[in-house]
């Protein structure tokens, strides 16, 4: 098995978006997510000597980020934990219905499932995007995720619209194949 090597110079370009999405879907706050990604890179740098090269670079960084997310929740919980435990039927006063029966989770609601599913979907999609050739991934994310106009993308990258559509077509075809294997 080939040993992997760390290349911190390329971390931001290669993994920042992936890690950022991973963090955003778990802490639901872009500022906190940004900080967590930054901390992950720092921690990675500090413990680079402990990297054995068994896992791919990205897997290794994700495992650090996982710990950072857990730490984040511990931190905000310890602040909350100091407050007394108050038992009340309803925590927010202007919610309608004071009765306990009205507070139970709606068994027919699929919100929880959806949140979880979307989190995994985001990971799978991001994974597939990172397998694309770099230029295609860039064009696809500018167009689809950032929602930029064709003209702006062309100007920024110095390509013409038919180039752009060819790349979009290839990226979409590759993504469909990749998601077919990993998602459906």
């Amino acid at each position: 098995m080939t040993k992997h090597k760390l290349q911190p110079d390329t971390w931001v370009d290669q993994y920042a978006d992936y890690l950022f999405n991973y963090a955003v879907s778990r802490v639901s706050d872009t500022e906190i997510a940004k900080d967590l990604v930054q901390e992950t890179f720092f921690a990675g740098l500090n413990s680079a000597k402990n990297y054995k090269g068994d896992a791919a670079e990205r897997t290794w960084l994700v495992s650090i980020l996982k710990r950072k997310v857990i730490d984040h929740y511990r931190k905000i919980n310890s602040k909350k934990g100091k407050a007394e435990v108050r038992i009340n039927y309803s925590s927010d006063t202007d919610a309608e219905g004071d009765w306990l029966e009205q507070q139970v989770a709606d068994p027919y609601s699929k919100d929880g499932d959806n949140v979880l599913e979307n989190e995994e979907l985001g990971d799978a999609l991001q994974d597939c995007i990172s397998k694309l050739p770099q230029k295609q991934a860039l064009v696809f994310s500018m167009k689809t995720i950032q929602g930029m106009s064709t003209e702006d993308v062309c100007n920024e990258l110095g390509i013409n619209p038919s180039n752009l559509w060819v790349m979009i077509h290839r990226a979409r075809t590759a993504l469909m194949g990749c998601l077919n294997e990993n998602w459906f």
């Binding site: 931001v12 920042a16 955003v24 872009t30 940004k34 740098l45 999609l125 994310s141 077509h169 998602w183």
Partner: protein, 77 residues
Amino acid sequence: MKISCEEAQGICDKSQYKEASFWDIIKLRFHLFTCKVCKGYSKKNNELTSLCDRAGLTVLSEEDKEKMKRDLEKKNA
């Protein structure tokens, strides 16, 4: 009225970003009536778009990335 599969798929790609013209979409619809392959492609393509919407992906801005790079270099030095 007749268009090739290549053209049809191109229009389909554009329509995912709402950039296909009205007349193009009519041509595409007509093509999809007769072509199973493109119909499959179009279906998958629409699914991909809705998945992308649902996943709610975001990207870091270039400034943020630059800042991260600078900080990382400082740390590394």
